[in-house]
Symmetry: D2
Subunit: 155 residues, 4 copies
């Protein structure tokens, strides 16, 4: 049974988990300014440790992949929450444990120059077992750095 909380409440809890309890997210400085139904925004400030190329001072492609992967996973899980009938903590935890990336494609469009990078995502295929999202990374000037497509296990 358990108490029923709202999808919104669970998103707040998840935001905290993803920001504060994921060691790798803290290592790279991941922030989540927005996590709502159908909307996710991840931010990261450029810092010396994230540079992949000292000559050009650009963001490492692995950081780009990390941000896009997380953005996709969070947006599909938001969708899962909206479609769950039983929103008990037990049921949500179980679904969260099943969440995992099956495959990920990153298209690097231009070098990752900038002071701040924002990842966004949209669900393009929703389902009980598998969901697919498309993601984008832009810098603070709106330059489009990368596209992503991710297929996630959600059930």
């Amino acid at each position: 049974m358990g108490t029923q909380l709202s999808a919104q409440t669970f998103r707040k809890m998840l935001k905290d988990i993803f920001e504060l309890q994921m060691p790798f997210h803290q290592l790279i400085g991941l922030e989540i300014p927005c996590y709502e139904n159908n909307k996710i925004e991840l931010k990261i400030a450029m810092k010396p440790e994230l540079v992949g190329n000292i000559m050009h001072g650009i963001l490492h492609g692995g950081v780009t992949a990390s941000l896009l992967d997380v953005a996709g996973g969070m947006i599909v899980f938001s969708d899962v929450l909206e479609n769950m009938e039983d929103l008990s903590e037990e049921a949500v935890t179980k679904r969260l444990q099943n969440l995992g990336t099956i495959d990920l494609r990153i298209d690097y469009l231009r070098p990752g120059r900038g002071k701040e990078f924002t990842a966004t995502a949209t669900v393009i295929r929703t389902g009980n077992k598998v969901a697919v999202a498309r993601m984008e990374l832009h810098n603070e000037q709106g330059d489009h750095i990368a596209f992503g497509t991710g297929t996630y296990m959600v059930g």
Copy 2:
């Protein structure tokens, strides 16, 4: 003109650059025990900061993507070196500056459990402008964690 060095010498120089002068590689603790013609081996020791999921203590998918991306880029560049006629420092530097990931696919096969992870790579399409590599990530017990496929600009 410039002095002609061997491909092997350049790989040694690159190994140092990738291990010691790439801030993000030092952040995650990337080591390159082997970089020869047709052979690359990247290693990373598990450490708390690389964990993506505290409940299960598994490697963050973004670290997996980072390792596979770098392994692919290094193996295609090794191939470039083998096929260059002019191995002057100037010519090699120019080719290195053109090196970049166009797109990357990661297939996550199983959770990244382990103490140490090794990425390897093979060139599957060679060319003057574009090359494609396939990559693998295994843990210290030989469990196959992930596959990767990367398309790289090389000229």
Copy 3:
């Protein structure tokens, strides 16, 4: 030297080549109602031979992949034409001979039900050597059947 024709003229020639001189396109009934700068529209009418699943009467996934691959290739080549300085037949033919798909990703969103399918495409990365496009397939009712992402050799 050769006479300089316009990009628009070459697109008309290409439209004819792709519609009338590519045997596989005629086999599946590919039509190209629109091929302009930044815009491509491929159409195909459902017919019994294109069915992949007789129980459900849906379009074979390979036909979807074919349409999206061609749409992506044509849109990146349109972009090439817009950026070429020398629009002689010789120069254009040379570029066309270099055109080729390096890699392709298809995301199948829903079963291919419908009477007519339309593929569209947009260039997301432009370049002298490599270009990347994103593609979509919809049926006549506007249902979104599939997404595609293609990396093409263009020079």
Copy 4:
């Protein structure tokens, strides 16, 4: 309940369905010389209608994608059959109806020249809901034409 048949028997039935009852497969001339546990071989003879480029007489990339998609789907379903406890016709039919490609990546390695093409596949991730396969296409001389990676819904 229903009678229990063997996985091998169902593979024979499926081979017939895929060869004889899929209109698109007959259109392109798909043959299935081998379909066993962990092994699939699809063959196609080059014929004028499959040409994508009349100047070079090479196989259309969409045919390559079609073959690799089918090879991947059949190998993951063979794996499903091996792991099913209830091999009644009803249970197998239900699983077969769930079979579908979620996403597909094709890496085109070289132009599709040849008289005959063979597609093979291996399961790289097995599961109750989702499975992933890697596929290859070679011509009759053993030239490696393309690689594929496919993620399939299997439950």
